[in-house]
């Protein structure tokens, strides 16, 4: 194997596959990156048990300055070490060549490294996916749907299925739901391209976070293939394979309230500012709680810490209807929920102090397309 390439273009690809490489794996070879060189270009692979990423660099890409002299493959381990070397090389380009017994020679201007590699045959194979099954999703919309739901997945392995976002794909609609049992996010969008398919899958939140990083905003579409327990997202130069979570996702439709007794519409920035300030004190306390009071035309948020003191925030609003209410909740849930809205204003609907409340885009047509639900905290 022998090639030379633009250093920064190569480094960018290497950083992409590094997203899937963990230093804490029980399978040593997975700390490495697999480099495969064919006449068409270079393929880099990084993987852990849950996610694999392949990145391609083609000879037709002018910016890559890629010249291939000899094909072959090698694993360099750990990948981070290799990336650090490439990052520090002195010249705009570098050359990479293998020698006997899996040695790699990396040269750039006056610098020359000799690195011990591993036979690429030892690297695990990624599954073959039938490309005929692929359907397409618009990148911007998919990213938005992920970013509006992924924060509500559970970080705990006690109920593994809740660590993922449930996607229902088909009938011209893409619906995503996530919950950690104290909050729930739901987003549903129309996508004409998925009229003919029907899938229901639970994708790990960690995979979705990496997917968002590799989906470039300039891309129009991403191709998706679902097989039994895996999902593959394909763009022109990057493939991301993810494990799917197995098991039954709880039914959530009936959890979203269909009635309300108190309704407030207000500016997101004003509310977020108040929540962030109140949480300065709630975070200092043992119990991360703020209390919202709606009464006599005043919307008041309070937070306290027995060590530090207390805070009162009177929040301006656009409209307020219904019964007075006092409700306590975790301010971080509301803050994260507010970050997912794109407009200026939101509507919050309450039923009672001990029932979940929901945050909707202001003037939302329904409580289905975009809902952030938060459960309250019972205080005694």
């Amino acid at each position: 194997m022998k090639f030379s390439v633009n250093r920064l273009v190569f480094l960018d690809k290497l950083r992409t596959v590094q997203l899937a490489i963990s230093s804490k794996t029980t399978i040593p070879i997975l700390t490495g990156v697999k480099i495969e060189v064919s006449q068409e270009g270079i393929k880099l692979t990084g993987s852990n048990a849950d996610i694999s990423i392949e990145a391609f660099l083609e000879t037709t890409d002018d910016a890559a300055q890629l010249v291939i002299e000899e094909t072959g493959s090698l694993v360099l381990q750990p990948a981070r070490f290799f990336a650090d070397i490439v990052n520090k090389l002195p010249d705009e380009t570098f050359s990479f060549a293998t020698q006997d017994s899996f040695q790699a020679i990396i040269k750039s201007a006056t610098s020359s490294f000799k690195i011990h590699g591993i036979d690429a045959d030892n690297y695990p194979y990624l599954p073959d996916m039938d490309e005929h099954l692929a359907f397409k999703l618009p990148v911007q919309l998919l990213k938005q749907v992920i970013q509006q739901t992924v924060h509500s997945v559970s970080p705990h392995e006690t109920r593994p299925i809740l660590t993922g976002v449930k996607f229902d794909i088909g009938g011209g609609k893409l619906k995503a739901v996530s919950t950690d049992s104290h909050r729930l996010s739901q987003r549903q969008v129309s996508v004409a391209e998925i009229d003919h398919v029907e899938y229901s899958v639970v994708i790990p939140g960690t995979s979705l976070n990496e997917l968002v990083k590799i989906l470039d905003d300039e891309l129009e579409e991403v191709s998706v293939i679902v097989v039994e327990n895996q999902i593959l997202f394909m763009t022109e130069d990057t493939y991301l394979y993810s494990r799917l979570l197995e098991g039954n996702y709880p039914k959530t439709d009936q959890l979203i309230p269909t009635e309300t007794n108190t309704q407030i519409t207000l500016n997101i920035a004003a509310l977020r500012g108040a929540v962030e300030r109140a949480s300065l004190l709630s975070h200092a306390g043992k119990n991360n709680i703020v209390t919202l009071n709606v009464a006599e035309g005043i919307l008041r948020l309070t937070g306290q810490s027995s060590e530090v003191g207390s805070v009162v925030e009177d929040i301006p609003y656009i409209s307020m209807t219904g019964d007075p209410i006092e409700i306590s909740f975790n301010p971080d849930y509301l803050k994260q929920a507010l970050q997912t809205f794109v407009g200026n204003d939101v509507t919050i609907e309450f039923i009672s102090s001990l029932r979940p409340f929901i945050v909707l885009p202001a003037a939302a047509a329904n409580r289905v397309d975009f809902v952030q639900l938060i459960t309250p905290i019972r205080t005694r």
């Binding site: 809740l162 049992s181 729930l184 709680i289 306590s328 975790n330 001990l354 019972r378």
Partner: protein, 372 residues
């Protein structure tokens, strides 16, 4: 004190508080004697009789008669028997002692709400502001001491001063049925001649070091600078520097915050099967969870303790993300810990289950009803 570039002011003495330390005299033994007059002049030892159980156990309390034989609390029951062959061993009845302790606290509460119990038989009371509007802490101390004796026929020793340290030193100074007052004017003189082991926190180890350094009394201690004490005894050195000057600003803390709740049991016959062990652990988990619930607490950390026949003792813990919500969940964690770390072939003679990282159930984040 100087610390590199920084200079600190000398600590100030605060004398505006009125603190009592009330210590029941040989509490458990006195309760038993009160309930059985025949024991009055006999050496009563609260603890398991080593002749009956093969020599396990320690002395919880000894009556003043038993103390004359050299028997004291925390001594092994076997040693107590050697020192006092005619000693009368009585198994402790903690339920009863707790009941009487409540009655004593009811008396305290007539005078103040600022009460810090240290055990069933001793407590600090802050009577600076009190319910009977009495300015004299000495009068209050006398009244409480008398009322305890009058209502419960039990004697106590009372210390009166302006901080917790001095109040405790005072109640220890004269026992049983003692009453010692240390006023702000007397404090420094009183401390000069106080033997070093009477300073709270000076255990056997520190005392050895003190003896080596020829510190025998408060007077010797007073000669040391704060920097020297801190360098020799660490953080405790700084505390000592203040104590010997009659300074202790610790408040009387009303709510004792429980950090853990648990149960352990020693088995005379070692257990050799998983079935026996898990059976015991299940029962303990239920008991511990029930007590936790009763106290209005919930916790996140599960601790399993076990001792093998060769006395090797281990504790293994697991901290969960959420509060443990049922006895079966607690048992599940305990069982997993045992399965992961325990070795049944080594013979088990002690088991313990504890929950820590406790919080009061003031707050409950209501979960969604997620049916799988």
């Amino acid at each position: 004190m100087e610390y590199s570039l920084l200079k600190f002011k000398e600590p100030k003495r605060r004398t505006d508080r009125k603190i009592l330390h009330i210590d029941m005299d040989a509490f458990y033994a006195s309760v038993e004697i009160r309930e059985n007059e025949k024991l009055r002049h006999l050496p009563v030892i609260i603890g398991p009789d080593p002749r009956e159980n093969g020599g396990h156990g320690v002395v919880a309390t000894a009556s003043y008669v038993a103390r004359q034989y050299g028997v004291h609390s925390a001594m092994s029951a076997e040693e107590a028997l050697r020192k006092c062959p005619e000693g009368i061993f009585i198994r402790p009845n903690f339920e009863r002692y707790r009941q009487i302790s409540h009655q004593i606290h009811d008396i305290f509460k007539e005078y103040t709400s600022v009460i810090q119990p240290l055990a069933l038989d001793e407590a600090y009371l802050d009577v600076t502001h009190n319910r009977i509007n009495e300015k004299s802490a000495i009068k209050i101390g006398r009244q409480i001491q008398y009322e305890i004796y009058d209502k419960l026929q039990l004697t106590s020793s009372v210390g009166v001063s302006y901080n917790k340290f001095l109040a405790k030193v005072a109640s220890d100074y004269h026992k049983p049925a003692g009453f010692t007052v240390i006023t702000p004017d007397q404090a420094e003189i009183f401390l000069l001649d106080l033997p070093i082991e009477a300073f709270i926190g000076v255990g056997t180890k520190t005392k050895e070091k003190m003896v080596e350094l020829e510190i025998k009394t408060g007077r010797d201690l007073l000669a040391w600078t704060q920097v020297e004490l801190a360098a020799t005894f660490g953080k405790f050195g700084r505390t000592l520097y203040k104590r010997v000057r009659g300074i202790d600003d610790r408040p009387v803390v009303t709510h004792h915050v429980r950090k853990s709740l648990g149960k352990e049991k020693t088995y005379i016959h070692e257990m050799k099967t998983d079935k026996e062990i898990l059976g015991q652990l299940q029962k303990m988990s239920q008991d511990v969870y029930a007590s936790l619930k009763k106290d209005g607490l919930h916790g996140k950390t599960v601790v399993l303790k076990y001792r093998y026949r060769n006395f090797d003792t281990y504790t293994r813990r697991k901290t969960c993300f959420e509060y443990i919500a049922s006895d079966s969940e607690l048992f599940l964690h305990v069982m997993n810990l045992w399965r992961e770390f325990g070795d049944v072939t080594r013979g088990v003679r002690l088991l313990g289950v504890t929950i820590s990282t406790l919080d009061p159930i003031y707050y409950e984040n209501i979960p969604l009803d997620l049916h799988m």
